[in-house]
């Protein structure tokens, strides 16, 4: 067993933890039995930490998608164990179906859902506010603002989930997931906490007759949850009780507010109500606060949910308080910050804003440093080949993973992308209406996530497109988590490798080719052959992720590429393949030996210009 402090640290020990690690400790202290997930920034370090610890205290699984992860966790909680299920915000859209109904039946063991939201879109396709789900599905909701709070709230969320027998949401945002701070540990239980399952189809089998009854039970449970919120130690007030200028604040904004008040020296001029347990609203506590204020300003990133609740409460109780919230400064877009709140507070308190000056203005015209496909990335080779064969004649339906970076020139391998797994289905609809050739790109993990259903649909409805499965044997973008396509020797005994070709053929695909991504001639020949056919065609292009191969298999090649002849061919390769291991040194082109992975795709693109040589 691992000797990691998260597993061995006793009560009272203090450690510097990432919030996502503190959530792990909180779950362990609660006595979690099962953890399921689909990885996604900013949630991934939670399951990855459980994986690293490798303890027999709990069972961990990387599920194929968020819906499945939620259902597995729900099953574990039905069986009486405490279950933690983790995902990024958009993942909860996938898991929404079981979420709503699980809240009706209730889950006796206790389920905590981590929804990691991403205001600012640091690594996401939208910045949706998942506090809506807590309201829509009726889940008690906690929003930590520090690593220490994350441990405590995770523990409290489990306690509540068990007591109410209802799923509870732990809602974080990127800045919170990825902050570090000192965390004081609580006690680790001797064993996991389990209650027996008692058969009760009248409750646990969701059909209309039970649903009507259970909806009533859910309303009752949420009343109880509201009482918990009224008394929660995470909902606290600070400031002089005589001050009638109020601020109500939740989530990460609590940090920005505290720092803005310290910077402005305004601590004595406002009274603050901080909400850490944010649903259901502690109405009595809020009303008492509103009644003792002339004005309140509501601070929350994202949508004006708390603000609407406060306005409704004031209206319902004929409270004369003036409520301020979202406006031109405090928008629904992006993140808040200390300086933003300084500016808004200066307005609110009608006082000058402390001067915020930089030592220097932003330097203009600096070369950017966007993320890029790595040197030796197999996706680059496949994209190059597809561009050679289809050029601008085809439309490219892309999907979510490292390979989305193929959107960048010169590969330009993405014309549209909606969400996880959409490449095949959206490509199908596009081809049907446009009548144009469509090539859909999807990675191995995304294929298992929700590409399989799109492929079944494409066959069933006789769609016409070429699907290229970019199989690099791992979930690369989020940090090399396992998926069913991963090699059996890497997965170990706990998981079973699924063969993508068998899945594809099993669904009924007959026009199929399987190639090695670095064999350019083979890839192009297969593409040429599939190009002129009609119907659903699948090309499976395989090559391990270069980063992963180096780390996992300690696989380093003994060869590197070298330019042997400067000129047109070398330039063409640099302009069309754009491998980051190439560099220009004045008029000449060279290969950086430290970056070159030895894939030798450049040799196939421009045989006259490049040659292989021994490394070193």
């Amino acid at each position: 067993m691992s000797m990691h402090p998260l597993l061995t640290g006793g009560r009272g020990e203090r450690h510097l933890l990432l919030t996502n690690e503190a959530i792990v400790r909180g779950a362990l202290e609660a006595g979690v039995s099962l953890v399921s997930c689909y990885p996604g920034t900013p949630s991934s370090e939670v399951p990855d930490t459980f994986r690293k610890l490798g303890s027999d205290r709990y069972v961990l699984e990387y599920s194929v998608n968020e819906k499945v992860a939620f259902e597995v966790a729900a099953g574990a909680a039905l069986a009486g164990g405490m279950a933690l299920v983790t995902m990024k915000h958009v993942g909860l859209n996938v898991a929404a179906d079981p979420l709503f109904t699980a809240a009706y039946s209730g889950l006796p063991g206790g389920l905590v859902l981590l929804s990691a939201d991403d205001p600012g879109c640091h690594a996401s396709q939208n910045e949706q506010d998942n506090r809506h789900y807590a309201r829509a599905a009726s889940l008690p909701c906690f929003e930590p603002a520090s690593a220490a709070e994350a441990r405590e709230m995770t523990r409290e969320a489990f306690r509540m989930a068990r007591e109410l027998q209802q799923p509870v949401m732990l809602r974080t945002t990127t800045r919170v997931n990825h902050m570090r701070g000192p965390v004081e540990f609580g006690e680790l239980p001797a064993e996991r906490s389990q209650v027996p399952f008692e058969r009760n189809p009248g409750r646990f089998v969701a059909v209309p007759a039970t649903a009507r009854v259970r909806h009533r039970a859910l309303v009752t449970a949420m009343k109880k949850a509201r009482e918990f919120a009224e008394n929660s130690r995470f909902n606290t007030e600070y400031g002089d009780p005589g001050v009638r200028t109020g601020i109500i604040v939740s989530g990460v904004s609590r940090n920005y507010l505290a720092d803005a008040l310290a910077t402005g020296g305004w601590g004595g001029r406002v009274r603050v109500l901080e909400l850490g347990m944010t649903w259901p609203l502690p109405e009595k506590k809020l009303l008492a606060f509103l009644s003792s204020c002339d004005r309140v300003l509501v601070l929350e990133e994202g949508d004006p949910l708390l603000e609407s609740g406060v306005r409704e409460l004031a209206q319902r109780h004929h409270c004369a308080v003036r409520v301020e919230g979202k406006d031109e400064l405090l928008t629904v877009q992006g993140e808040y910050s200390t300086t933003l709140l300084l500016r808004r507070l200066a307005q609110y308190l009608d006082c000058p804003c402390p001067a915020l000056t930089s030592a220097a203005p932003a330097a203009e015209g600096l070369p950017n440093r966007p993320p890029n496909l790595c040197a030796g990335c197999s996706h680059r080779a496949v994209y190059y080949a597809v561009r050679q064969v289809f050029g601008d004649d085809a439309y490219y339906s892309n999907d979510i993973g490292c390979y989305t970076l193929g959107v960048l020139p010169p590969l330009r391998a993405a014309d549209f992308l909606v969400c996880m797994g959409s490449s095949i289905s959206t490509g199908s609809g596009f081809a049907r209406v446009s009548g144009k050739p469509v090539v859909a790109f999807i990675g191995d993990s995304t294929f298992f996530h929700s590409g399989m259903t799109g492929l079944a649909n494409a066959l069933f409805n006789r769609h016409d497109l070429l699907v290229v499965i970019l199989d690099n044997g791992t979930t690369a973008m989020t940090g090399h988590q396992p998926n069913p396509g991963m090699a059996q020797e890497v997965l170990g005994e706990a998981s079973l490798h699924l063969d993508i070709e068998a899945v594809v053929r099993g669904l009924g695909v007959t026009q199929f080719a399987r190639v090695k991504a670095f064999n350019l001639k083979g890839v192009m020949a297969a593409l040429e052959e599939l190009k002129d056919k009609k119907g659903v065609r699948v090309l499976l292009a395989e090559e391990p992720c270069a980063l992963y191969a180096r780390r996992q298999f300690r696989k380093g090649t003994t060869q590197v590429a070298e330019v042997r002849e400067q000129g047109e061919d070398a330039r063409r390769c640099l302009d069309t393949l754009a491998c980051p291991a190439f560099y220009r040194d004045g008029e000449t082109i060279a290969v950086d030996e430290n970056l070159c992975s030895g894939c030798m795709v450049c040799l196939q693109v421009a045989p006259k210009a490049f040659k292989a040589r021994k490394r070193g």
Binding site: A362, R369, R584
Partner: protein, 201 residues
């Protein structure tokens, strides 16, 4: 702990994915924690790590926010000179900059589509803006200590030796001995002395 009298300080780290900027941030955070300081650190993960810019922050003395805005940093630790220049607006007037002087050209530069700014120009622009400014050959000093990666420790040591932080190189030395794997300690302790010597000289 939690003494409100602790000196408040905000540090901004910037570098390139794969350089070890986040590891360096965590080492300095642990150093501060063991020195009895209140702290919060923040970092950005995800897509930035495919060769993109990696930024992180360390706030000492009672701050709660895990991010910085322009003009808020007392100190910038730049692990790559172009990124130091890009991050310069985060510095408050009169703040301090410690930066590596070893460029890692972005892809647009290596492919010949954009020029890398002149190093002397970067240095003079930073010097004009900062109250304290030290550019160090971290790569060379790191190699001298035993590994390129230990160049990050050179930079941390320079900051600790400057007297601007609420702890000195002795605290960093203790953290290296406590938190780094045994096989990396000698190299990093050597890097520490080289970094400290570089700013003393």
């Amino acid at each position: 702990m939690s003494e409100t009298t602790q000196k408040r300080m905000r540090i901004y780290f910037t570098g390139v994915g794969g350089q070890g900027t986040l590891t360096a941030t965590t080492l300095l955070s642990r150093t501060a924690l063991d020195a009895g300081l209140d702290l919060v650190a923040g970092e950005v993960h995800g897509m930035a790590q495919r060769g993109g810019v990696v930024e992180s922050v360390l706030l000492l003395g009672g701050w709660r926010s895990p991010r910085l805005d322009p003009g808020e940093a007392d100190i910038i630790l730049g692990f790559e000179p172009l990124e130091t220049l890009r991050g310069l607006p985060y510095l408050r007037p009169g703040g301090a900059v410690f930066s590596s002087s070893d460029p890692l050209p972005p892809v647009s530069v290596s492919l010949g589509n954009a020029p890398y700014p002149d190093l002397a120009d970067i240095e003079s622009r930073v010097r004009a803006a900062a109250g304290v400014c030290r550019f160090l050959p971290c790569r060379e000093l790191g190699l001298q200590a035993g590994s390129v990666q230990s160049g990050n420790t050179v930079l941390l040591a320079a900051a600790c030796a400057s007297g601007l932080l609420p702890f000195g190189t002795d605290a960093l030395e203790a953290a290296i001995k406590k938190y780094l794997p045994a096989k990396l300690q000698d190299v990093n302790l050597k890097a520490l002395s080289l970094g400290a010597a570089a700013v003393a000289g």
